[in-house]
């Protein structure tokens, strides 16, 4: 068997930034690396071309009656900028303090490697293990997976799995496993406001027209109520009721508000009434401003009335909201509230469906839950309890993995999400790293769960 840490280093050395064409070679290297590794484990590897970065479809066939598990991962990573904040170069993986440092170590190369290593050991111990396995590894996750949905639709017959298994979510501490039971969705847009056709001298023209920054500020200020809720009619209509067991589970998280506030460095939280910050981030939708810009932002002053100003808005959605319903509500609010003495345009950006799955034995577990999904949850629970020394928590998470909702919709499959990121991992930020003990434990849990399923 290969050494998973050494293999992970090789993987991280491929600078596979999907959003930036300058990293084309790195993308190709990462794709070749994964394909080769899975091929060496006996998988039939197909590299499926897309408009942008190919999807790797690696399958181990078997008897039709065997369980079929689809393991998802992605070989692309976030851009490493700002480079000057990295302590060691992002694409030269470095081991220290029990961690591997580098871009993509945690998101998602390390967790993916944990599962590949689990499968490798399983097949080494029992080359005839009665499992059908599919690795589905894309290269566009960090750009919103534009090719993934058409791929699913085209390859649905070969993706006749029992469930999807992946690690692309978080855990609170090294010794606390988490099974992620829900994800928020997304709907994104940009609003560009135009006042005069050109930048104006604020003395010669100030006082006659509405400044586009002012119009934008008025719009943005209108989108929340003072108590922190989104101020758009109908926004909360489809928000899924929180089950008492979900609040209880969250209560076992073991992080307190004072610590969290300290971590963020804020004077006070601003969660809507009736929700702790930990609940708000998981159970409620948001509307956030990700960026705003207009006019002079440099040193000192420039007394200009800018022609244009823009804001980037992202809404996180929870089950059972949908981008199809929320986007028109948002746009209607923008159109209605934007002052009439400016012009504006709304630029669509990507969407993602929220997702929820309920483990067996809960108040809201669906009666018709597929037996192999229920079996997987039970096997995972046992394995995680053994390896981590305590039962896993079943939590929804605030982040989004939009392809999970697409898989549910197109293939009808649920996902078993086993968290492996720690808060210290610096995902999407400089000095990303992955805890190698967590990687080892995650790989062990994965192997045990697959073994149990193979045993029938």
């Amino acid at each position: 068997m290969f050494d998973p840490v050494e293999k992970l280093k090789e993987f991280v050395r491929c600078p596979s930034v999907s959003t930036d064409p300058r990293y084309k070679d790195g993308m190709r290297a990462a794709q070749g690396f994964v394909s080769g590794l899975l091929g060496s484990l006996g998988f039939a590897v197909e590299v499926v071309p897309t408009g942008l970065h190919p999807i790797i479809l690696a399958q181990r066939a078997g008897e039709p009656g065997w369980p079929h598990i689809i393991i998802y991962g992605h070989y692309d990573v976030q851009p490493p900028d700002p480079l000057n904040l990295w302590k060691t170069p992002p694409f030269e993986p470095t081991e220290r303090e029990g961690r591997l440092w580098g871009r993509g170590t945690a998101d998602n190369k390390g967790p993916l490697m944990a599962h590949i290593a689990a499968v490798g050991r399983l097949l080494e111990k029992n080359p005839r293990v009665p499992l059908r396995l599919t690795f589905l590894i894309e290269g566009e996750e960090e750009t919103g997976s534009p090719s993934f949905l058409p791929f699913l639709e085209k390859f649905s017959r070969r993706l006749d799995g029992d469930f999807v298994f992946l690690s692309d979510t978080g855990i609170p501490r090294e010794d606390q496993a988490v099974v992620t039971c829900g994800l928020r969705g997304l709907t994104l847009c940009e609003v560009e406001v135009t006042g005069a056709r050109m930048d104006l001298h604020s003395g010669l023209h100030g006082g006659v027209l509405r400044n586009p920054i002012q119009a934008l500020a008025e719009l943005c200020a209108s989108l929340h109520t003072p108590d922190g809720r989104v101020n758009i009619p109908g926004y909360y209509d489809d928000v899924l009721e929180v089950e008492p067991w979900e609040r209880e589970e969250l209560g076992r998280l073991g992080t307190n508000e004072a610590e969290y506030r300290e971590f963020l460095g804020i004077p006070a939280f601003h969660a809507p009434p009736g929700y702790t910050p930990f609940e708000a981030v998981r159970f409620l939708p948001t509307l956030e401003f990700n960026g705003i810009g207009g006019g002079y932002q440099g040193e000192g002053s420039k007394t200009v009335i800018p022609s244009k100003a823009l804001v980037k808005i992202s809404c996180r959605l929870v089950p059972n909201q949908t981008p199809q319903k929320i986007r028109p509500l948002l746009y209607a609010a923008i159109r209605e509230r934007m002052p009439k003495d400016v012009t504006f345009r709304i630029i669509d950006q990507h969407d993602g469906m929220p997702y929820v799955v309920v483990p067996p034995g809960r108040s809201n577990t669906p009666r018709n839950q597929p037996p192999r999904l229920a079996q997987a949850f039970r096997a995972l629970d046992a394995a995680a309890t053994e390896v981590f020394g305590r039962a896993p928590l079943y939590l929804r998470e605030g982040g989004s993995v939009p392809i999970i909702g697409d898989i549910k919709r197109v293939l009808g499959l649920d996902s078993v999400l086993f968290g492996l990121f720690l808060p210290q991992d610096n995902l999407h930020a400089p000095n990303e790293s992955f805890n190698l003990r967590v990687m080892q434990k995650g790989s062990e849990v994965s192997e045990r769960m697959l073994s149990t399923l193979a045993a029938g």
Copy 2:
């Protein structure tokens, strides 16, 4: 005599951006150019060092009884950004359509050159003309003239003029001269808001804290009433009553609202009730947002909750408001209205006093107006009527020339402001240009006025 247009081109080729240390050489070149030109006309030129950019003090001495006219100008210019919007490079002056294009052609190198050329011709025709003349040319006008006030205080004895003469204000059309009778003042600041200590993933943390962009939007939206007035208690307390003759004079401007709206390219004006756009810009104070920034502003999306957001605010003030009174009112409003779950700081920027001077023979002309100031107004009126083919208009202007208020306060001198900018000149914007026929006419008026004063 030198060719004023060729000399102006030389002047514009010196990239004298005072706010940006990268243009240090350009500042030195511009300063050397002006000093040399005035020296060649026989002026005793002194380059007075300051903390930042030297002030050029060029004097032509004479009998104590002669009129002493101080001609003001500035050799610094605005930054040329955004560079990609210029049709020809900002510091390579280009003549086309009867205009000279380039940064600083209008503000203020062209108008200054018109006066230098006028003095040049006057001295050529009559080398013994009985006038004392001082050119006072600074290099920090575009950064708020921080060195000018201490300079005035130090050099007040040598600045024993009858009045100050300058062209740093506008005219509505090529054939309509304007004598500017008032200027707005300024008070500037920047507000920086901080949410969490670092940028956050909007999925993992969205919903627990107030986004600093949101806090800033709420603050900004609170600073105006829906009808376009500044929403700060006491803001309008000291605003000078408008005289009927001022509204009448403005009525003769000959620009209609439809044309002005078309020029700006806006769907509607937003002037406070009771004021036309032309009146609002001259007679009312404003509060404008000159720039706003925070988070991700690039292509596409990045689902971040930014740590910081900033806004740059400028208030234009009218007589008899003062920055000393308005700044505390503004800061109190910011402190009171900023949401308490973010932190913020206010960064002071520069101030400028508003200014008003009344020409002879009006309802509100001071009884004790100095005879040589009154004489200058009458001489200017006659010269402008002759050269432009119609009587000049006497108008207050929306822009600010803060040093005019300082001169009044420290030296006790009023200023005769002869407008030369056209609305098409794009001051402070890309594709600045100066109309060369206006330059020629302005120079002619200047020479005639000085001749009349010399004749006693």
